[in-house]
Amino acid sequence: MERINIRISCELEHIGLMGMAVNGICQRFPEDVSWKIELSVIEAITNVIKYACQYSPDKQVDLGLTIQGNQLKIVISDDGHSMDIARFEAGRVLDFDRVNASDLEEGGRGLGLIHSLMDEVDYQSDEGINQLILTKNMLAVAGDDA
């Protein structure tokens, strides 16, 4: 099992650094998988900074990445405001069928993208610690044509 932990303060200036670190770790995976992992992490971290920690530089967000066999697991933790479970569940349904510009929303795609890009997405909040758990099964790579 391989494991790495990365911590940044809740400032948007640091998301690029987190993205580059995850991108480096994911170089071992095919390109059509690595971009999904990096994007999911950035969407999740951005949500934590914006909504859970509300741009507070005194707050921190932790990323724990584990590779075991063919499974990659990422746990993103914060001690900010917890996410409304209804909002989390609503993100499972992302409408990608709107092809008319007038119908398009400018925002609100982040959570839906995470659900679509990863194999499993779970969220839990306990004793003031929120955790978003993302799983990607590498065995599914060959059949993953999205």
Partner: protein
């Protein structure tokens, strides 16, 4: 945070070249504001060159959608030189069906210019 972007106008068409490698939540608000200021009351056609962008997230995508919606019609904007994960993201979200996606700036200018000529001819015909 300020986005690195070159903007010029050619034959009434605005060309914006994002020179930022990571087009994310850090720079998306500045992109939106800068381009809306440049488009206000002036050119209503835009070529967006994403050739230097290696990473795009939903904040960046949302800012691009915002610019599209501020134009007269979806056909007034073309995106060119997208590559790697940027292309994957447009395809994955089906935004490649919303935007006019072309390979080069030249092709984008040609497409938008020909639309402009068609419009001029149509306007001329009604006078």
């Amino acid at each position: 945070m300020a986005i690195r972007m070159e903007v010029e106008e050619k034959d009434g068409i605005l060309i914006a070249r994002v020179t930022e490698k990571r087009f994310d939540a850090r720079v998306a608000p500045d992109f939106r504001q800068k381009l809306k200021e440049r488009l206000e009351g002036k050119s209503k056609k835009l070529v967006l060159n994403l050739g230097a962008v290696e990473f795009l997230d939903s904040s960046g995508l949302g800012a691009i959608v915002s610019i599209l919606k501020s134009l007269d019609s979806p056909g007034s904007m073309a995106i060119c030189n997208d590559q790697g994960m940027v292309s994957y993201l447009f395809q994955f979200t089906r935004m490649n069906k919303v935007f006019l996606m072309v390979k080069s700036e030249e092709e984008a200018l040609s497409k938008l210019s020909s639309d402009k000529e068609s419009e001029s001819q149509a306007e001329g015909a009604t006078v």
